[in-house]
């Protein structure tokens, strides 16, 4: 088998690829040394964190580097496609390969489709260009292709414009377009990033299905180890512009021979399962190697590596064979095992049972927009407001963490903003301990403001780009802790140390800080007011896993020391599972399920929770994928639900009762607080879900 493969020319052979950008601001070695091969019918995943050069390596294959950096770029090394040199190939010949033999799928399907052209036409033009078919044949083939990627009504979808399709449908169109000419090589650049987890699951299913149907090699670029485990045959791990490890998926996930890969795998919160999470998350200290540095006479991972020796800092390691088609760029690969990052620390459970809730929210409601009439002031009422949050209530216990999960559009961010007072609620009340909170932040007292803080998703925009990082901390101290100017600067430095930042960082502009450093500054500001409750709205969603773990651990430590409660909002069930004591599952502005974390994530669950859990990609190539998938899209929320809010997509729908009666609340086993909003009785759910 091995012998045979060696004699055959690989479909794609990338050898010592390096991409350098020469810009007015300096030289950037974005890709330093990347080598991999792809065979026909094989999926190679290129994995790495932000800035490691994975996407640029992928685009270098089709020689498309222009928009990444203004100015000149240089490509070194070789890229052979079926034995032909892609780098030296003339443009006209390359144009015949693009979209035909080599096709691509991109990260943002919404912006990658031409907004002013019907999707059918965008598809047909590929067929006409490369296969020279007549309009009629092209149209027919388009319908077939749309059908093959699982688009409903394939004969009519071509008439639509991109904005009329949901994100998942857009990505299916992109995939159909890539498959149009039956390509030999399919390059997919983060194809599921930005999609909801349930949509992601259906796209990944499609990919697994494609792998069997088409005889193409697939290059799958991703930062998400879970999705990689689901689809990849082989994995190449990138760090700082180099491939550091390469091998069969099972070898990479189970017997990694590079310290970076082992570290990365341990940073991912374990998938939500029935076992209690009782060990702490791991994080990789330090930050990624910056592309403008050129010191190649060392292992680039050495500054962050727990097993770095003297020679790692003075000599650059070559990529070495470490087993059956398994390679690693490490001098000491033989010593690499899971334990090199130290023993896993047990989680300190601390005191989690406090009687008094910190926050009590009741019957919150918020609609956006107003009824619109056909002719502004006159005519029939045509468009109702968006019912973003309808009757949501919850409680946050002292020193506890309430996790709120749901897909985009479920109302979780609106809930956070209602509680924080950034937008006023229309109905319902919020009690902070015993005080009623005013709807708007401006009307609340300074004590109330100090007691309730918020951390946002995007650390870059959470800091004023024109002011030094210390500004937000110092102002928070002055406004909320009532410190004098001098004291506030001293305390700011203490807070910086508490979030593991050197005080010197406080004088930097946000642009000079990495995403993780920015988010730690934001945390320091949130900790400034000795608050009772911190709302973290997707606070780790934009961070790389190794950095995400650092931030989660900081939150954990702070909670243990000061007894602060959290509302932790996330779409990532793994993260929520790890950090939450209680969980609230939202769908379409309604509560689907709520209760203690272990009850909500176990059988029985609300069918929506079940679907969410089943959609989560698991970073283990041997895991058997679950089969529950949601079709369709989240409802527009403009109509009041006559029956159950989930009836339109529910895989466990029992009949007309779901469509015309709002679901009752059943108390699940395990805890009196475990509430499931579903028509199906609890016993029935247990039976259904145990199979």
């Amino acid at each position: 088998m091995n012998e045979k493969r060696k004699n055959e020319t690989p479909l794609l052979e990338v050898d010592h690829l390096a991409v350098t950008f020469y810009t007015p601001h300096g030289t950037f070695n974005v890709v330093r040394d990347v080598s991999f091969t792809i065979q026909r019918g094989e999926v190679l995943a290129l994995v790495g964190e932000t800035g490691c050069g994975k996407s640029i390596s992928a685009f270098a294959i089709v020689r498309y580097l222009l928009p990444f950096h203004p100015g000149e770029s240089r490509v070194d090394g070789t890229i052979f496609f079926e034995g032909k040199d892609l780098i030296a190939m003339p443009d006209s010949e390359l144009q015949k390969l693009r979209g035909n033999r080599i096709a691509m799928v991109y990260q943002n399907p919404g912006t990658s489709l031409n907004p002013t052209m019907r999707v059918g036409l965008q598809m047909e033009e590929v067929l006409k260009q490369h296969l020279r078919v007549e309009s009629k044949q092209a149209h027919q083939r388009t319908v077939e292709l749309f059908d093959s990627v699982g688009l409903a009504e394939p004969d009519r979808i071509g008439q639509r414009y991109p904005h009329q399709l949901s994100g998942g449908m857009q990505q299916r169109v992109m995939i159909a377009m890539a498959l149009a000419c039956d390509p030999d090589l399919l390059i997919m650049d983060e194809p599921t990033t930005g999609l909801d987890v349930t949509t992601e699951a259906t796209i990944l299913d499609l990919m697994v299905d494609l792998k069997q149907r088409v005889n193409a090699g697939i290059l799958f670029v991703s930062h998400n180890l879970g999705t990689v485990a689901r689809v990849a045959d082989r994995v190449a791990v990138m760090y700082a512009g180099q491939t550091v490890e390469q091998g069969p998926a099972s070898a990479i996930f189970k017997r990694s021979k590079h310290p970076y890969t082992t570290g990365l795998l341990q940073c991912v919160p374990q998938p939500p399962s029935e076992d209690e999470t009782n060990t702490r998350l791991r994080s990789i200290p330090g930050d990624t190697y910056a592309p403008e540095e050129v010191n190649l006479q060392a292992c680039l991972f050495a500054p962050r590596c727990p097993m770095a020796q003297e020679m790692c800092h003075t000599e650059a390691p070559e990529i070495l064979s470490v087993g059956d088609s398994h390679q690693s760029r490490c001098f000491f690969w033989n010593n690499v095992h899971k334990g090199i990052w130290g023993e896993l620390e047990p989680r300190d459970e601390g005191i989690r049972e406090t009687a008094e809730p910190v926050l009590n929210a009741n019957k919150l409601q918020r609609f956006f927009g107003q009824w619109q009439r056909k002719y502004i002031l006159f005519g029939p009422r045509v468009r109702p407001p968006v019912r973003a949050v309808t009757d949501i209530g919850f409680e946050v216990g002292g020193g506890r963490t309430l996790g709120i999960v749901g897909e985009s559009g479920c109302g979780k961010t609106t809930v956070a903003r209602l509680v924080a007072g950034l937008i006023p609620r229309q109905r319902g009340d919020i009690l902070l301990r015993t005080e009623e909170l005013a709807p708007m932040i401006e009307e609340r007292t300074d004590q109330q403001r100090a007691a309730l803080r918020m951390v946002f998703q995007n650390p870059t925009t959470s800091l004023n780009p024109k002011l030094p990082a210390r500004h937000t901390i110092v102002r928070s101290l002055q406004k909320l802790a009532r410190l004098s100017r001098k004291d506030s600067h001293e305390r700011a430095e203490e807070l910086a140390r508490a979030v593991r930042l050197e005080p010197a960082y406080l004088d930097r502009r946000p642009e000079a800080l990495s995403g993780g450093e920015q988010q730690r500054i934001v945390l320091a500001a949130a900790f400034a007011g000795e608050s009772d409750l911190i709302i973290a709205d997707e606070a780790v969603a934009s961070l790389d896993v190794s950095v995400q773990a650092q931030v989660i651990k900081l939150l954990e430590d702070h909670q243990r020391e000061s007894g602060t409660s959290y509302i932790f909002i996330s779409h990532d069930l793994g993260v929520v599972r790890y950090i939450s004591d209680d969980i609230l599952v939202l769908y379409a502005g309604h509560i689907a399920e709520s209760g203690p974390a272990e009850c909500v994530l176990n059988i029985p669950s609300h069918p929506y929770t079940e679907a969410l859990l089943s959609a989560v990609p698991i970073p283990d190539p041997d895991a058997t994928p679950t089969r529950i998938r949601l079709g369709g899209a989240v409802p527009t929320l403009r109509e009041r639900f006559q029956g159950c809010f989930f009836a339109g997509r529910c895989p466990r729908k029992i009949g007309p009762i779901c469509d015309n009666t709002p679901p009752p609340v059943h108390i699940g086993p395990g805890s009196p607080d475990h509430a499931i909003h579903c028509h199906i009785p609890v016993e029935e759910l247990i039976k259904l879900q145990s199979d």
């Binding site: 932040i441 403001r449 946002f456 998703q457 959470s462 024109k466 934001v522």
Partner: protein
């Protein structure tokens, strides 16, 4: 105090960096000397001019419409005045009037745009409708209308230019403010209880400044064009002050016999606006480069 000082230092630093970037652009390198020359004329023109710009020689006939010569480099006009001196002295009033007008417009526009955009709601709706209404006038038309009723004085011209350029600036500033106000750093300022005034001037203003920089240079060039056009139409700076627009207008009668009288101020006004527009392009490129710096 420290807040103001640190603010000033930061502003100075960003201005210095911007200049450095401007000088790296192709248009900036051409523009800076041109603009600098005109600025020198603005401040020192009357001092270094060889003759008085307004005094007429006693024997007008002898000096009327003389072609360029070593004595009068750019010739003389219908009243026997030295054209070079008049052009040199005309820079000051034009640049000062246009500059004041543009500055006024920037300040007004920034205040209206930022407060209206940040406040939002009804107030914003009404303010923007009024701005739309004002923008329905070609600038020159609105300026003519206002000056017609107020009468042409240097102050009125500057005020008018400020007024007519305000709506467009307000609109640009407002849209920047709208995109900024939903950013998380503004939300966190609200969450820690900052006043609206503080948020607008301390949090938003530094971020609006780059936009204002581009706007300022564009508005300045429009202002020069408007002041010169008003002068040409006789509603600008009044004679006998040497105003380029007016000089061109008066020279029309002698266009055939003494074209130099027209050509000199024409060259002056054209070079000034070209310089300012090139500078605007340079600033725009520079801010774009600064933005790209951040993305890397």
């Amino acid at each position: 105090m420290t807040m103001i000082r640190s603010g000033l230092v930061a502003t100075w630093r960003s201005v210095r960096n911007t200049f450095r970037l401007i000088f790296r652009t192709w248009s900036g390198r051409i523009a800076l000397p041109i603009v600098l020359l005109h600025l020198v004329l603005t401040f020192f023109g009357p001092l270094i001019a060889p003759y008085s710009p307004t005094a007429m020689p006693e024997s007008i006939d002898q000096y009327q419409n003389l072609p360029p010569s070593p004595q009068f480099w750019l010739g003389t006009d219908q009243y026997g005045r030295d054209v070079l001196s008049r052009v040199m002295c005309g820079a000051g009033s034009l640049i000062a009037t246009a500059g004041t007008g543009a500055l006024l417009g920037i300040i007004l526009g920034a205040v209206v745009g930022m407060s209206s955009g940040y406040k939002g709601g009804r107030v914003d709706e009404i303010v923007m409708r009024v701005m739309d209404g004002l923008m329905s006038f070609p600038t020159l038309l609105l300026a003519l209308l206002v000056l017609f009723t107020l009468g042409p004085s240097r102050f009125n011209i500057a005020a008018t230019i400020g007024f007519v350029s305000m709506p467009a600036i307000a609109r640009v500033v407002r849209s920047t403010t709208l995109s900024l106000k939903n950013m998380e750093f503004v939300q966190s300022a609200r969450l820690r209880g900052e006043s609206t005034f503080y948020i607008i001037f301390r949090e938003l203003l530094p971020n609006v400044l780059p936009v204002l920089g581009v706007e300022a240079s564009v508005r300045f060039s429009y202002a020069i064009l408007s002041v010169a056009s008003l002068g040409f139409l006789g509603l600008g700076i009044q004679p006998p002050s040497p105003d380029w627009g007016l000089m061109i207008s008066q020279s029309r009668r002698f266009l055939v016999v003494a074209p130099w009288v027209a050509l000199a101020p024409m060259g002056a006004v054209a070079s000034l606006v070209i310089g300012v527009n090139l500078l605007a392009d340079g600033i725009r490129q520079a801010t774009r480069m600064a933005k790209e710096d951040k993305h890397e």
